[in-house]
Symmetry: C2
Subunit: 229 residues, 2 copies
DNA sequence: TCAAAAGTGTTAAAAATACACCCATGG
DNA sequence: CCATGGGTGTATTTTTAACACTTTTGA
């Protein structure tokens, strides 16, 4: 570092991830159980300190890999939390991220700390350490807002899904009931779903599977098309 | 700090503000000229180090007060920039904020450093220090997006304004021409503008002044109304 | 043949778009 | 009286919203 390097007390900087996944049609949140003080034994968001030579983005990915081993489908920065008293040990500023995991990536891989990680149903969350409950609430709101105008919902679904699954997911994300026929019309008008010649069995009539056509989406987006559901 | 306090190298944390104002119908950006190295003499976003006992929000407000003395009308966190090499002196993570200043607050008050601050037209910006050009670009995009679904535009206008001013501002923010009659219909339907019995003189027919009815907006918002322009 | 979920079409209301002229003032 | 910018209405198209029955399968 050059002669003019900064000399002053510095806060610690962490990254924390709010990771959502979909399982059995329920929205799940990934948490880890804290080992040390403070809040030992309590559940918290996966995350940790940013190393001096890695970007914030790299730091979240690394921490998530180390602590849980889940496979990320989508990741974006959420907000930075910096209240002076949010960590009892001293000044810790946390850059929070919002992440989505596809159903195939839900498994907690054998990793350093993955035995302490677990998925919780979004409305059966335990008490959380630090200000993590606030962070989760912010993330949940952001996810609902995002779902309206960006095709993030598809990140939570399997590659091949039924229209009923898609609708149920959107009802979950938006917290509102949707009309089946109107929903299908809207989806059809987007022209981003490729119907497959495969069907799911099940109780009742088999449902046709669809696939999200990412290439078509990116093409449409470039031409100034706006996704909206 | 307790025995379990963190011991490890820490990045520095700064806040930077992208401050927009409106003057003569042009969007202006507030910059300060750097005194010391690196980038001495170059223009940069106002900002500085976060003190150990202040929130991030307090830190931006303080820095803006100290460096420019402008009166803020609106402030929201934008994004946190943390590329390891974004500051030549070492690891500096910056929490960037997006701020708007009303026409009444544009004056650079006599303050510690306000003599180094200046307003620049948004498309006549000088070269900026660090990654500040990227931050400004991100902020500009956010402002355009935000203007569509939140009444932030009004923060940039004087308390009493004409519909022509409002339309010109939205054309500026959105980067698109709008039809005068349709725009006025849309605005009228929102029911958030109070027409006043005052008129601006000028070349041509005098224009009626209007006022943004913040109370009505907050009432409507609570009832699940969505602002959109 | 019954239960269960998939799939489909029409109508009415609201919103978006395109478009051209008259109005009030100052010089 | 003319130049300047303010202000207004209508017709068309598109989008949204409300609403109920038929289809296909497995048990």
């Amino acid at each position: 570092m050059a002669e003019y390097s900064y000399r002053h007390p510095r806060p610690s900087v962490t990254v924390d991830a709010v990771v959502f996944g979909l399982e059995q049609g329920r929205l799940k949140l990934l948490l880890i159980q804290r080992g040390g003080e403070p809040f030992a034994g309590q559940w918290a968001l996966p995350g940790g300190f940013v190393a001096m030579d890695e970007s914030l983005h790299d730091a979240v990915r690394r921490e998530l890999q180390e602590e849980t081993g889940v496979r990320l489908a989508w990741l974006e920065q959420l907000y930075t939390y910096g209240a002076p008293d949010r960590d009892p040990r001293g000044r810790v500023i946390s850059v929070a991220w919002l992440a989505l995991v596809s159903p195939r990536g839900l498994d907690l891989q054998a990793g350093t700390d993955s035995d302490r990680a677990a998925w919780f149903d979004e409305d059966e969350l335990p008490a959380l350490a630090f200000d993590h409950a606030d962070i989760v609430a912010d993330a949940r709101r952001r996810l609902a807002a995002k779902a309206r105008y960006q095709p993030v919902g598809f990140e939570l679904l399997p590659v091949r899904f039924t229209l009923a699954q898609l609708q149920a997911l959107y009802e979950l994300l938006l917290g509102a009931e949707l009309d089946k026929r109107n929903f299908r019309k809207k989806v059809a008008r987007l022209g981003l779903l490729a119907p497959l010649d495969e069907f799911t069995p099940g109780p009742g009539r088999p449902a046709r599977l669809h696939r999200f056509d990412r290439a078509a989406y990116e093409r449409a987006e470039r031409d100034g098309f706006d996704f909206e559901l």
